[in-house]
C-alpha cells in the first residue's frame, strides 16, 4: 500500500543525496547537478501530493519549478564557462577571488 509517506521518504532521501553532493564534491559542475537533484526531489513531493489531494495545482507548480531550473542551469553554466575562460579551473576551492 503506497501512501504519500513513501513518496515523501523518497523525496527526502533524494534531497539529502543532492545536499551531500553539494557539500562533498569540489567540481563545480557536479555541484550544479546535485542542485538539479534537489529540485527533482521537490518536484516528486509536489506531484505526489497533487495525486493524493486530487488537485492539479501541484503539477502546475512542478512545471514552474522545471522552468526555473532551466533558467538557472543556463545562467549558471554561462557563468562557469566565463570563469573557466579566465582562470582555467573548475575546482571551487580555487574560485576564491572576487577580482584578480
Amino acid at each position: 500500500m503506497i501512501t504519500s509517506t513513501h513518496y515523501m521518504l523518497l523525496s527526502a532521501a533524494l534531497f539529502m543525496i543532492g545536499v551531500i553532493g553539494v557539500m562533498v564534491r569540489r567540481n563545480i559542475i557536479i555541484i550544479f547537478m546535485s542542485i538539479e537533484l534537489i529540485l527533482n526531489a521537490v518536484n516528486i513531493n509536489l506531484i505526489a501530493f497533487s495525486a493524493q489531494l486530487q488537485n492539479v495545482v501541484g503539477q502546475v507548480f512542478a512545471i514552474f519549478v522545471i522552468a526555473v531550473a532551466a533558467a538557472e542551469a543556463a545562467v549558471g553554466l554561462g557563468i562557469i564557462l566565463a570563469f573557466y575562460r579566465n582562470k582555467e579551473t573548475v575546482n571551487i576551492d580555487e574560485m576564491n577571488l572576487m577580482r584578480w
Binding site: 523518497l10 543525496i17 492539479v56 512545471i63 526555473v68 553554466l77
Partner: protein, 171 residues
C-alpha cells in the same frame, strides 16, 4: 500490488543513480547517470498519473538541461587530459558522516509512519474522463495562474539573454 512493485523498483533506481551521480569520478559518467535518473523520475510521474509533467520532464530536463551540462563538461574538458577529469579534493569523510545521519533520520521517520500510516491515495478519479491530465493543467495555467506563467516566460527570456551575454568571448 503492481503499484508497490513499480514504486519500489523506480525509487531504488532513482536513489541508486543519484548516489552514482555524486560519487562517480568521471564527470561525463556523472552526467549520464543524471539523465538516467531523470528518466526514472519521469516514469515515477507517470505512475502518479501526471503524464504531462512526465513528458515535460523528459523534454526539458533530460533533453535540454542535461544536454547543456554535457556540452559544458565537454567544452571544459577539451584541453585537459583524461586523468584531470577526476576530482581529487572531495571531502569523502563529511559525505559519509552526513549519509549516516540522514539514514538514521529517515529510519526514524519511516518507523513512525509505519506505526501510524497515512491515508491511502484516492484512486485516479474516473469522474473527469472528458478532460485529461493535460487539459486540466493547461486550464489552470491559463486562467488561475496566468500571471506566474507570464512571469516565468519573462524569466526564461532574461535567462536566455544572460546566458548568451555571459558566454560570448567579447561583448
Amino acid at each position: 500490488m503492481s503499484q508497490a512493485i513499480a514504486f519500489y523498483f523506480l525509487s531504488a533506481c532513482i536513489l541508486g543513480f543519484a548516489v552514482l551521480v555524486i560519487t562517480t569520478r568521471d564527470t561525463v559518467h556523472s552526467v549520464l547517470f543524471l539523465v538516467l535518473d531523470f528518466l526514472f523520475v519521469a516514469a515515477l510521474y507517470v505512475l502518479l498519473g501526471a503524464q504531462f509533467v512526465a513528458a515535460i520532464q523528459i523534454l526539458v530536463y533530460a533533453g535540454g538541461i542535461v544536454v547543456l551540462y554535457l556540452f559544458v563538461v565537454m567544452l571544459v574538458n577539451l584541453k585537459r587530459p583524461p586523468e584531470a577529469h577526476q576530482d581529487p579534493h572531495r571531502r569523502t569523510n563529511w559525505g559519509l558522516a552526513l549519509s549516516v545521519a540522514v539514514l538514521v533520520e529517515l529510519a526514524i521517520v519511516g518507523g513512525y509512519s509505519y506505526a501510524r500510516p497515512a491515508p491511502a491515495f484516492a484512486a485516479p478519479s474516473p469522474a473527469a474522463p472528458f478532460t485529461g491530465n493535460t487539459e486540466q493543467v493547461g486550464w489552470l495555467l491559463y486562467t488561475s495562474y496566468l500571471i506566474p506563467f507570464e512571469v516565468a516566460s519573462m524569466l526564461l527570456l532574461v535567462a536566455m539573454i544572460g546566458a548568451i551575454v555571459l558566454a560570448k568571448r567579447e561583448l
